[in-house]
């Protein structure tokens, strides 16, 4: 039984658009973690690649082991061994010289084999071993078609991450973001959905007028966003599979900041009265019933649901500068202020377990990502060091925060762990990227 592989068939990639392997992003680790776990991901062998013709040639241009290695390294919790330092390349547990891998400083090793199954399908067999005690921790076979290989790679990384850290992996998830190209006044705005590593980008919507505030539905199937395509703000919900979309709010004045309720049935959003007073409302998506949540002459905006769907976090400048508040959704509930340090705290995002709030804070004239403990002492910790760090969004496992930053005058995406120990920049090859939103699992 120890040697048995368990078959995992992935029916993925149906109708996927093919993209070149050229990545949209290059990852720069700006700050790593000292105690990262050393792991060797040995390149997966592709036996018979030469003989199997087109299928194997297709597989050869996607380096599954490299994607797995990049995923694990990007998490900051792993230090993936450089291939140049590998003295041999075993592809099955029986061929691993554990003592050699241990002497090279590895705690874990992953080996694998990719074999073509017909014209467009591959079987990936991989095993994870503890180098110190030779224990086999994982052994799986994954079958994927050519477009599904990238997803299969992320799922392998998820299984390894989960097995070693005990935290569910989030590599096989996606990010939405807005990309701005062109120079003023002829800008073009694209709403893009890509894999969590920035690869495999797909344009969801494009416009010559601003697109902003993408928000994932809890089932990961739809995005709500704001489009100014008619030179007025309109909130749309778009179903990703078909590209079909519909208007959910196009009232006179402001229609902004959509946020899905945890059950996906409601949208919190910001609307304005005729005299321009912004308040937070809840829209029932099935009945179109609109409930006003806040009622204050100040700017109330950037709503975000609590996990239980019973309250909203939001930004308000009712006390002068913007601060973060929480209000229950029962009639008569009064907003309670949560942030008191500094004069600018805005755009709250709740961690998946709701133990923490990420938001934008002002510090020494700069805008930075901060987190606050929601349970207990409400300590505030500033995580980043940039001048224009905004739009934080938690990975669905809570292990990473993606946000928008600037690098030499250009909008880039960046990552930071909630303990600030790991910091990375995703450098886009073109344009200006902003407003990342991490998908649910």
């Amino acid at each position: 039984m120890n040697k048995a592989f368990f078959v995992l068939v992935l029916m993925v990639g149906l109708g996927l658009a093919e993209r070149g392997s050229a990545g949209e992003f290059v990852v720069e680790v700006t700050r790593g973690q000292d105690n990262a776990v050393p792991i060797a991901i040995v390149p997966f062998a592709a036996p018979g690649a030469a003989a199997a013709g087109a299928a194997a040639a297709g597989a050869a241009d996607l380096d599954v082991a490299q994607i797995v290695s990049n995923d694990l390294a990007r998490s900051g919790r792993f230090k993936a061994m450089d291939r140049k330092d590998m003295v041999e390349e075993p592809h099955a547990g029986a061929n691993i010289s554990f003592d050699d891998w241990r002497r090279l400083g590895n705690d874990y090793i992953v080996v694998g084999l990719m074999s073509p199954q017909g014209a467009d399908r591959y079987n990936i067999a991989f095993e994870l071993f503890n180098v110190l005690n030779h224990q086999r921790l994982l052994g799986f076979q994954i079958s994927a078609n050519r477009p599904g290989l990238r997803l299969a790679s992320h799922q392998i990384a998820d299984m390894i991450f989960d097995k070693i850290t005990g935290i569910r992996g989030a590599f096989a998830t996606r990010i939405a973001y807005v990309s701005v190209a062109g120079s003023l006044p002829n800008r073009s705005y694209r709403l893009i959905v890509a894999d969590a590593d920035g690869e495999n980008p797909h344009v969801v919507m494009q416009s010559n007028e601003p697109l902003m505030s993408p928000a994932w539905s809890p089932d990961g199937q739809s995005l709500a966003y704001v489009s100014f395509e008619h030179r007025l703000p309109t909130v749309y919900v778009q179903y990703l599979k078909t590209g079909e979309r519909h208007v959910v709010s196009a009232k006179a004045g402001v229609n902004q900041a959509p946020a899905w309720s945890p059950d996906g049935k409601k949208l919190a959003l910001t609307l304005s009265t005729r005299d321009g007073n912004l308040d937070v409302y809840v829209l029932d998506l099935s009945t179109d019933a609109l409930t006003r949540v806040t009622d204050d002459p100040a700017i109330d905006t950037e709503p975000q649901w609590s996990r239980d769907g019973q309250s909203l976090y939001f930004t308000s400048d009712r006390a002068g500068g913007p601060q973060i508040y929480k209000v229950g959704l029962q009639p008569g509930d009064r907003p309670r202020r949560l942030t008191f340090q500094g004069n600018y705290n805005a755009r709250p995002r709740v961690s998946p377990d709701e133990s923490q709030l990420a938001f934008v804070t002002q510090e020494e004239g700069a805008y930075r990502i901060a987190v606050m403990d929601l349970k207990g002492r409400s300590d505030v910790q500033v995580l980043t060091k940039g001048q224009f760090d905004v739009s934080p969004s938690y990975a669905p496992n809570g292990a990473m925060i993606i946000y928008a930053s600037r690098d030499r005058g250009r909008g880039v995406l960046a990552l930071v762990t909630p303990d600030s120990r790991v910091q990375e920049r995703l450098v886009s090859s073109e344009g200006e990227v902003q407003e990342p939103a991490w998908s649910p699992f």
């Binding site: 039984m1 048995a4 368990f6 078959v7 995992l8 068939v9 992935l10 029916m11 990639g13 149906l14 109708g15 996927l16 658009a17 997803l151 998830t173 120079s183 003023l184 006044p185 959905v193 969801v204 919507m205 010559n208 007028e209 601003p210 902003m212 990961g220 199937q221 100014f228 395509e229 008619h230 030179r231 007025l232 990703l240 599979k241 078909t242 590209g243 979309r245 208007v247 196009a250 004045g253 402001v254 900041a257 910001t270 304005s272 321009g276 912004l278 700017i299 905006t301 930004t315 913007p322 600018y344 805005a346 755009r347 934008v360 805008y367 224009f388 905004v390 739009s391 005058g409 699992f441």
Partner: protein
């Protein structure tokens, strides 16, 4: 035994499958304005917009039914201080010139486009831009423009006038543009 474990794993695989991200197979990205009913009751904007440049009324163009705004000597942009929405005294002439025109041309329609610089969060900036547009709206109404002539929109930091990460650029971006239209 072996078989049971295998089956259990298949169930695990199925569970994993259920959690697989559904791929965004965008068939055809909807192009702005192609299939969407007019938002907010506008018509004729068509989606494929160009820039915000004010409609330069030629000096001799009097008596146009819609009116393309006052003589070009009257400014169409009001700039603001950081985090402020009060109208600086130097823009009093812009307010009075446009208010006079609106009073004299009851059919004229004016859109007030509020903007901020890039600093701060995007959605909060939408609020600040709206606040600036409303400040101009109130000032115009105080000088005789009627409520029905005026609409506001806030682009927040999304439509800067100039690029740049310095105060010179920011000062040009903190603005309300007065756009005459149908």
């Amino acid at each position: 035994m072996k078989k049971i474990v295998s089956i259990a794993c298949l169930f695990a695989a199925a569970a994993l499958l259920a959690g697989c991200p559904k791929k965004a197979t965008t068939v055809e990205p909807p192009v702005a304005g192609s299939q969407v009913p007019g938002a907010g009751g506008t018509s004729g904007t068509g989606g494929e917009s160009t820039s915000t440049s004010p409609l330069g009324g030629d000096a001799g163009n009097v008596g146009g039914a819609q009116g393309a705004g006052p003589n070009q000597s009257v400014g169409r942009i009001i700039y603001f201080d950081f985090d402020k929405s009060d109208i600086r005294p130097e823009f009093a002439a812009v307010i009075s010139g446009n208010a006079q025109y609106l009073t004299a041309h009851p059919n004229a329609r004016l859109k007030l486009e509020g903007n901020t610089d890039e600093r701060g969060t995007r959605e909060y900036n939408i609020g600040l831009g709206e606040r600036r547009a409303q400040a101009v709206r109130r000032a115009l109404m105080l000088q005789g423009a009627s409520e029905s002539q005026l609409t506001t929109v806030s682009f927040g930091a999304e439509r800067p006038a100039v690029e740049g990460d310095d105060e010179a650029a920011w000062a040009k971006n903190r603005r309300v543009e007065l756009v005459y239209g149908p």
